[in-house]
Symmetry: C2
């Protein structure tokens, strides 16, 4: 009897910071891997978040056996508070990831009925005809997992986000020998992280950063302020270790940093020798060279502790000449401007600032080309699908797979919503499900469409001009002078003459309007055409012109 085909459907993840999600489907069973969110791109004006479109999963709700999470970063778990109310299935993850998801669900008061299941490395979970085993990988958050998924037609390996770090600071190295062993037995499909597939060579070990941090902390003449991602527990561990070594005390600043540090200590992912961590009220009287602050703000977020400190807007802390600030993170694409501004502000106040461009104070958590090739070579999958990254990253990863000997026809670069079907012999893109970005703006999920975004774009560029006219219901004639109000278009004082002139222009147009002055759509168009042209001639700007009629 010919076996059924395995379907692979990416539901997100074509972006560096991108709402990673994927469905695997076999007959009546679907499992979902990750449920991430994406921060909006520049042109998504006013949007808070972007999440995956799960219409396909909702339509096939009775098939969905569970959601499996690889690790606790926002781009892998952040959409859960929005999706779980629609798709209440069990969620499987390692201990820290479950902890982070719980915090997130509680914060958003999103969903109290979530079925969160903690899974250990090596444990196997049966989800319909799928059997899922978690294995450890190194990444920039502890407890990161890859997945070994047994399916009726063969083994699927999902790398999660990973790098190869033989000297990790927290947790175990990526489980290479287990993967090599599976490779020897035959692997049907590898799904592997492409985020850094552009970069030649190897990604350095986390411990490299420790050496730099240690030197900085040893040599800094005054206070040291280290900012990083709150989830980058290994980085915080290294700061604590150096602090202990040089007799400095560590002050954790900012709520989200405090929350994560406390959870990580409680769960045993972070270790602080007695007396190293301190509360802000213990600051007074401590010599400057005995002080380290650990704060959020590595992305220049306006409400973060570091940015408030830089802007002299923090209730307790401000920069003192001689402070050393270490930005131990790399910019998430799009945040460069905010970060640069923060660095400039810190320099102006007399701080010395160290960041990735000028000193090795950060390494990222993704495999570069040689590591990706090693992974491909150990696992030797029959089929390969690059995941996690923009199209160019997936393309480069596809090329790497070709280089190590996977036949071109077995490599599939997919886009969100593509359906890839595999049997043991061959694979084929067989279609595309309906898929689009889902925008979260305030309380609403999915109500913002292209019209609203187009309007916001137009408003942001040249503002708006409202024209209010009163028309006599009986005669259809204009009553009084048209009124004009603008916002974001011109300086209303300096341009008052032009605005007055345009009121007269509208009056004139309506007077000579001819044919059907009572026909609102005609009047509306007439006013807009006239003012669009007039304002463009006068200013070379194109505000949104919005006429409004009051019948009196």
């Amino acid at each position: 009897m010919p076996k059924a085909r395995l379907k692979i459907i990416p539901l997100g993840g074509l972006s560096e910071i991108g709402k990673n999600m994927m469905a695997l489907e076999y007959q009546n069973d679907i499992i979902v891997i990750d449920a991430g969110l994406m921060f909006p791109e520049e042109e998504m004006l006013g949007i808070d978040l972007v999440i995956p479109d799960i219409s396909y999963l909702v339509e096939n709700r009775d098939k969905v056996r569970g959601i499996v999470l690889t690790h606790g970063h926002e781009d892998h778990i952040g959409a859960l508070p929005y999706l779980l109310p629609q798709l209440n299935v069990p969620v499987y993850a390692t201990k820290l990831t479950v902890g982070l998801v719980s915090v997130k669900l509680k914060e958003r008061k999103a969903f109290s009925g979530a079925k969160l299941k903690t899974v250990s490395f090596g444990e196997k979970v049966s989800l319909g005809q799928f059997r899922v085993e978690f294995f450890p990988v190194c990444h920039s958050i502890p407890d990161s997992a890859g997945l070994i998924i047994q399916t009726p037609i063969g083994t699927v390996i999902h790398s999660g986000d990973f790098k190869l770090d033989y000297t990790p600071v927290c947790g175990e190295p990526t489980a290479l020998s287990r993967l090599a062993q599976l490779g020897g037995q035959g692997v049907l499909l590898l799904l592997s992280d492409s985020t850094y597939a552009e970069l030649p060579g190897y990604t350095p070990s986390e411990s490299v950063v420790g050496e730099t941090l240690d030197r900085v902390i040893a040599e800094a003449p005054g206070r040291v302020i280290v900012t990083t991602f709150s989830s980058l527990v290994s980085r915080i561990q290294q700061v604590i270790d150096s602090a202990a070594k040089y007799g400095r005390r560590v002050f954790i600043v900012g709520r989200s940093m405090s929350d994560t540090v406390h959870m990580a200590i409680e769960l045993g992912y972070l270790h602080a020798p007695e007396g190293v961590l301190a509360r802000l009220d213990e600051l007074r009287g401590l010599p400057h060279n005995k002080i380290i602050f650990v704060t959020t703000g590595s992305q220049g977020e306006p409400t973060s502790a570091l940015v408030r400190i830089a802007n002299q807007d923090h209730p307790q802390l401000h920069i003192i000449r001689g402070d050393t600030v270490v930005i131990s993170a790399s910019p998430i694409p799009g945040n460069e401007g905010l970060i640069n501004k923060t660095v400039d502000t810190l320099f102006k106040q007399g701080a010395q600032v160290l960041y990735n461009k000028v000193a090795p104070v950060h390494v990222h958590g993704h495999a570069a080309q040689e590591e990706l090739k090693l992974m491909l070579s150990l696992i030797k999958p029959k089929f390969f699908v690059p995941v996690h990254g923009e199209y160019r990253h997936l393309s480069f990863h596809g090329t790497l797979a070709e280089l190590v000997g996977i036949p071109k026809e077995n490599i599939f670069v997919l886009e969100d919503g593509d359906v890839l079907e595999l049997n043991q012999q061959s694979g084929k893109k067989t279609g595309k499900i309906t898929y689009s970005n889902v925008y979260v703006d305030g309380l609403s999920v999915g109500d913002i469409g292209s019209v609203v975004l187009r309007d916001r774009k137009m408003l942001s560029k040249d503002g708006i001009v409202m024209v209010i006219i009163a028309i006599n219901q009986q005669t259809g004639k204009l009553v009084g002078r048209p009124d004009i109000v603008s916002r974001g278009f011109v300086d209303t004082t300096e341009s008052s003459e032009m605005i007055e002139a345009s009121r007269d222009l509208v009056a004139k147009v309506l007077d000579h309007g001819g044919a059907r002055p009572a026909d609102w759509s005609y009047i509306n168009t007439k006013i807009r055409d006239t003012l669009n042209k007039y304002y463009y001639d006068q200013t070379r700007r194109r505000p949104m012109v919005l006429p409004f009629m009051v019948k009196v």
Copy 2:
């Protein structure tokens, strides 16, 4: 008799791409160095350009002896069309720079009476008590100059934008021995380019890129599309040279690229062997591996040739599977998103894309730390002012100067509008002139202030809601139902119920308005408060609420 003090006043330049401009003032003479523009930052919504504030120069117009330009990039000459009408003084520059300024003035039909003077390297120009000599420096545009400025109290050297390239592709290497000789004689002040002062080491020679381009052009299986800055003449020269070597023909695509290439050939800065350059109508029938296109679009500009080709929106050209696209430029900060999108689109259509992250296809035109130290060491100035760059770059450059032995008290990191006064013994910041960014938006220069920008920001985030109410003049009572129109706030179909409910809410508030219903400012505030709260509760969004009253 004690000599007067020399004043140094930066009027722009605190940005990587930044409207560089500076004034030197001695008694009754002012000379201006450069007159650049800046492209708007993300939060400057709808702004086309930012130019320097020249109020100080306009106030002291009778002192200004001339504008001296170092080279022809936008951030050094782009503000001239806006400033010359206000400040009609002679402009001095080398031949290509004068050519580019003429084109720019003609394009903008800005100013026909400009007094442009071409100056050769080594030639000396007297401007009041200043004597200015141009010397050659290497940068990413030919005919780049540094300035040796003799003043009554000593020699000032301005580096222009420069790097040290001992094997430049066009023009002469930076005039190091001349500078060393001046250093021996004593230099009062060095003003030096800080753009890449963050980067350790040396900037590679332009000829390094030539080797990569040559290999790409030799090995590409099909057509090659090279995109770069149109002013990067040396890059275009290297493409033409390799094309000639491998029997490919070069098609220049796009108006601005064609214009610059033709001017550069005419003025003798670019050399093409007979038969290498071709017109688009000669394309037909040519084998793909005999074709090179040179286009604009290296910054992902939506109207550029490359982006239109990528978006299948170019009248003559589209991507063919097997094309090799070389983006021979680095992203100007802020353009990363547009460029990445273009690269992804090209990959999706089957092109191979090479860019700076994956292959050495670009070097920039600014000195890195070792070169900056060499410059400081040769010139050995008494005083040092880092120029060209954001505050962090200037700070790093200041630190480099300290390292090579310039006393800290003789190094001045200035901000726009600062006034530094020097005599032969000491220097001091003595004040600050009025200085602010000047925004160009359409035809207007300087009319956009903080209110308009704040409104645009608010509109871009959550849109606008207009409320129109009719009030009976006699009774002061509401006539009919309030009207509400929104743009960029919510999907008006999906949210029609909420909008209807908010109309009723306004009516209710006005009915119960109490005290002084005829007082418009009271009504206005009341409506805004009510709707702000209601909409925020319903949506967590904060649209601009704009009530409008018609008296009937």
